[in-house]
Symmetry: C2
Subunit: 195 residues, 2 copies
């Protein structure tokens, strides 16, 4: 996706060999026009699939997830990392370890917002080691919902989340696949995509 690759090129910052900071447009400041284009692209990619629900995790997945849900005209459900006092029971849960925040979260979704037979598109801002994706998959299995595929804004192909999901037979569509961040250089999986 050209606009996304341009944004990464112009505003992304490589902080270490495995950290790409995109807080200029994705996960702290957010570019709404880019989010809308991302949502429309995921909707286009999965347009044949009769998706009934888009699922993501708070917080950074909400932007791309909401725009995808709007383009597909289905509800968005975002998994919660903390339970509020209005959400204590009848929930599906899974444990997710975050390497960037160095902590384990229990994510949860209310029974009410997933139905058996739901055809779910899971959206997230990043795919790295796949912990969040596996947590959401576990919740989909508990709910007997069908996971149709994953829409990922930025995949770090040098970590193994993408491989794990594809090896399990899931369709994973990543709008930017980064092969390497070595020496502060962003190399894409398909070099011809580099802007």
């Amino acid at each position: 996706m050209e606009l996304l690759l341009k944004k990464i090129e112009q505003e992304g910052i490589v902080l270490a060999n495995d950290v790409l900071k995109v807080d200029a447009f994705l996960n702290h400041q957010m570019d709404p026009v880019l989010m809308k284009e991302i949502g429309e692209e995921f909707a286009r990619l999965f347009s044949e699939e009769k998706i009934t629900k888009v699922v993501t995790i708070e917080s950074s997945g909400i932007g791309p997830g909401l725009m995808t849900a709007l383009a597909l005209n289905v509800p968005l459900v975002f998994a919660r990392k903390k339970k509020s006092i209005t959400m204590q029971q009848d929930i599906y849960t899974a444990k997710v370890y975050s390497f960037t925040k160095k902590e384990e979260n229990e994510i949860s979704i209310s029974h009410k917002w997933l139905e058996e037979g739901d055809k779910v598109l899971i959206i997230d801002d990043f795919l790295a080691n796949g912990q969040a994706a596996l947590g959401l998959l576990s919740i989909m299995e508990q709910a007997k919902a069908e996971t149709i595929g994953f829409g990922i804004v930025i995949e770090k192909s040098f970590q193994d989340g993408g491989k794990i999901l594809r090896d399990r037979g899931y369709r994973v569509e990543s709008l930017a696949r980064i092969q390497s961040l070595k020496d502060g250089q962003i190399k894409y999986f398909n070099e011809e995509l580099t802007v």
Copy 2:
């Protein structure tokens, strides 16, 4: 806003005399069409104000905030409740006590995403006692940004956040103002708005 009042009427649940659960369409499952209409309404209300940035707090503010930013064609910035390892310095912070989660959070925004002279519209899903709004105001003051006003999806007028902000001279636009949740009944501030 008619669509919002209908949604509250049909899908909102009064849990106690002061808790309105709207996880069917606003803060767990999210209705993207409603979010888009909310964003367009806030943009219309503040269309004369030359807003340069929309600011909110993760997570439930992101949906309405992003749609408002899209309609105004300006960036969204969402305050973080936890610092990631990519965000440790050069941040404005404020303490916010959450009555629904019974905990104090330190919210933060990077210096980079607020500029002196920014004309900021603050968006949030709920306004109750005003703690989150006051925390964001403190950050705007630290950044020397100008707070033009507040766009609130649901204001609980029987708590004092709205009064505090209006007494300080801020413009507060709430799409649903709830006067009372007593005995499981939702009463609006302007009864003629009730659907």
